[in-house]
């Protein structure tokens, strides 16, 4: 339930969350929920509800929501939404908004990406790769100048530069 009496409302909050005006066209049909695998989770991911929270400007409720993080990125909602809201991308935008407002939301995997370039040990799976007859790949750690360039590039983005202590060392 969304309790408007109890909540503080931030006008135009949607502009800060999602850089798409199309979110305003959401008419609550629920098509996004009807096709969503993660609507089976408990608590359920209900994209329609998240769109309401964004449009109504309910900052505290939206900051507390864990459900945007249970999306499987299947984009079924994106396919069926009759109003072009792009619900999957809205879910990602809500995650980013949470990350901007609460550093505990920063996914630890982005630190791995910064340091190694990968979310899995691509350059370390030497024995497993050899067991199926494959050699090593031209991974970025083998090109120190490229890795440095990649890190310099990321250091110029907000999430890395504003939280640089996480990425160094």
């Amino acid at each position: 339930m969304i309790d408007l009496e109890q909540s503080e409302v931030i006008p135009d909050m949607w502009k800060d969350v999602f850089d798409s005006e199309d979110i305003r066209f959401c008419f609550n049909c629920g098509s996004c929920i009807s096709v969503c695998p993660a609507s089976n989770a408990s608590p359920p991911l209900l994209i329609r509800r998240l769109a309401r929270l964004v449009l109504l400007g309910l900052e505290d409720e939206l900051l507390d929501e864990d459900t945007p993080w249970s999306c499987v990125s299947c984009s079924r909602c994106e396919e069926v939404c009759p109003m072009g809201v792009r619900p999957f991308e809205l879910g990602l935008a809500i995650r980013r908004w949470q990350v901007r407002n609460d550093e505990t939301r920063i996914p630890p995997s982005i630190v791995e990406l910064y340091k190694e370039g990968y979310t899995q040990p691509v350059s370390k799976a030497v024995a497993l790769r050899a067991s199926v007859g494959l050699g090593e790949l031209p991974t970025i750690d083998k090109y120190p100048e490229m890795l440095k360039g990649y890190q310099d590039m990321l250091m110029a983005t907000d999430v890395v530069s504003n939280n640089d202590y996480m990425f160094k060392g």
Binding site: P37, A41, V99, S109, I110, V132, M153
Partner: protein, 294 residues
């Protein structure tokens, strides 16, 4: 001969390199040359930069795309998440403002991106470049007598405007057609279009619900078909459907042991590649199917 930059991502080369070897062995035999991309990084996966910072997301997408573009190559991708992330990135980078900002960032890393290099899924390349006729004519072994069902990777279907490569409107048929080209009988069932549920944060948020979601699919396959195997073309579908059958069997009365293959693995086997190289890693034993490929 067509030529692509081979974008492998993280999961395939690190966890299922037999799938990588299947791709490397099968595609050139069908006239598709694959070139490695030195200095590639994670696509980035949706749970990483796309969930944290759009500039970092698009810069990372463009970093990978620029590696192909510098060689005049489009990218060929098997992993559904990589394919979707790179396709979404390319799509967003059609916005000149985003492309300009991304190039400012890329310049700090000594790279640039014009927006020319495209992203193609392995199934798309096989179906639309190579064609099912050529596949049927080139294989030396076949799946004749075997029944299979397909798991459509969501990331290759939706949103169709951004990622789609099906030639017609209506139900997708590229993967079933590719499987039939190998001689298999493709069966259909009620939950065919249901997601496997393995990607992203669903199972982290509620593991029992994610397991039940997969169980409903496996139950439908078991009761409605004579499937000897499941074929996918996405590393996440492959690992999730292969690895989770064991805990599902241990948790209940029903036993689940349906072998799962990536399409390129079956293709490579039909082209005579050794199973020790192209279909060596799995939780569910696949020998019974491999032995019948003659």
């Amino acid at each position: 001969m067509s030529k692509y930059g081979l974008f492998l991502g993280c999961n395939t080369p690190a966890l299922r390199p037999d799938v990588e070897h299947a791709i490397r062995k099968s595609m050139p035999q069908l006239g598709v040359d694959l070139v490695d991309l030195p200095g590639f990084v994670c696509c980035p996966a949706f749970g990483t930069f796309p969930s944290a910072d759009e500039d970092a997301q698009l810069a990372t997408n463009a970093w990978n795309l620029s590696l192909g573009e510098a060689e005049g190559l489009d990218l060929a991708v098997q992993c559904g998440s990589c394919y979707s992330s790179l396709s979404m990135g390319s799509h967003l980078l059609k916005d000149p403002k985003k492309l300009t900002r991304t190039n400012e960032l890329l310049a700090k890393g000594g790279r640039s991106f014009k927006g020319e290099s495209k992203v193609r899924h392995m199934m798309d390349v096989l179906y639309n470049d190579v064609g099912v006729d050529k596949i049927s004519k080139t294989i030396t072994k076949s799946l004749k007598g075997l029944h299979g069902i397909v798991q459509f990777p969501c990331h290759t279907l939706y949103p169709s405007e951004v990622v789609g490569f099906e030639p017609d409107k209506g139900p997708p048929h590229v993967l079933p057609d590719l499987l039939e080209a190998l001689g298999a009988t493709v069966e259909h069932y009620s939950l065919e279009y249901q997601c496997c549920g393995g990607a992203g944060g669903f199972h982290k948020a509620d593991a029992p619900a994610a397991h039940n979601f997969l169980k409903s699919k496996l139950d439908a396959i078991k009761t409605e078909t004579k499937a000897d195997f499941i074929v996918v073309s996405c590393i996440t579908c492959l690992m999730w459907m292969d690895v989770q059958q064991k805990p599902l069997s241990e948790a209940g009365e029903e036993t689940y042991n349906i072998p799962v293959f990536d399409y390129n693995q079956l293709l490579a086997l039909c082209l005579g590649a050794p199973a020790e190289q192209v279909a060596a890693i799995s939780t569910i034993n696949r020998d019974a199917v491999i032995e019948k490929i003659k």
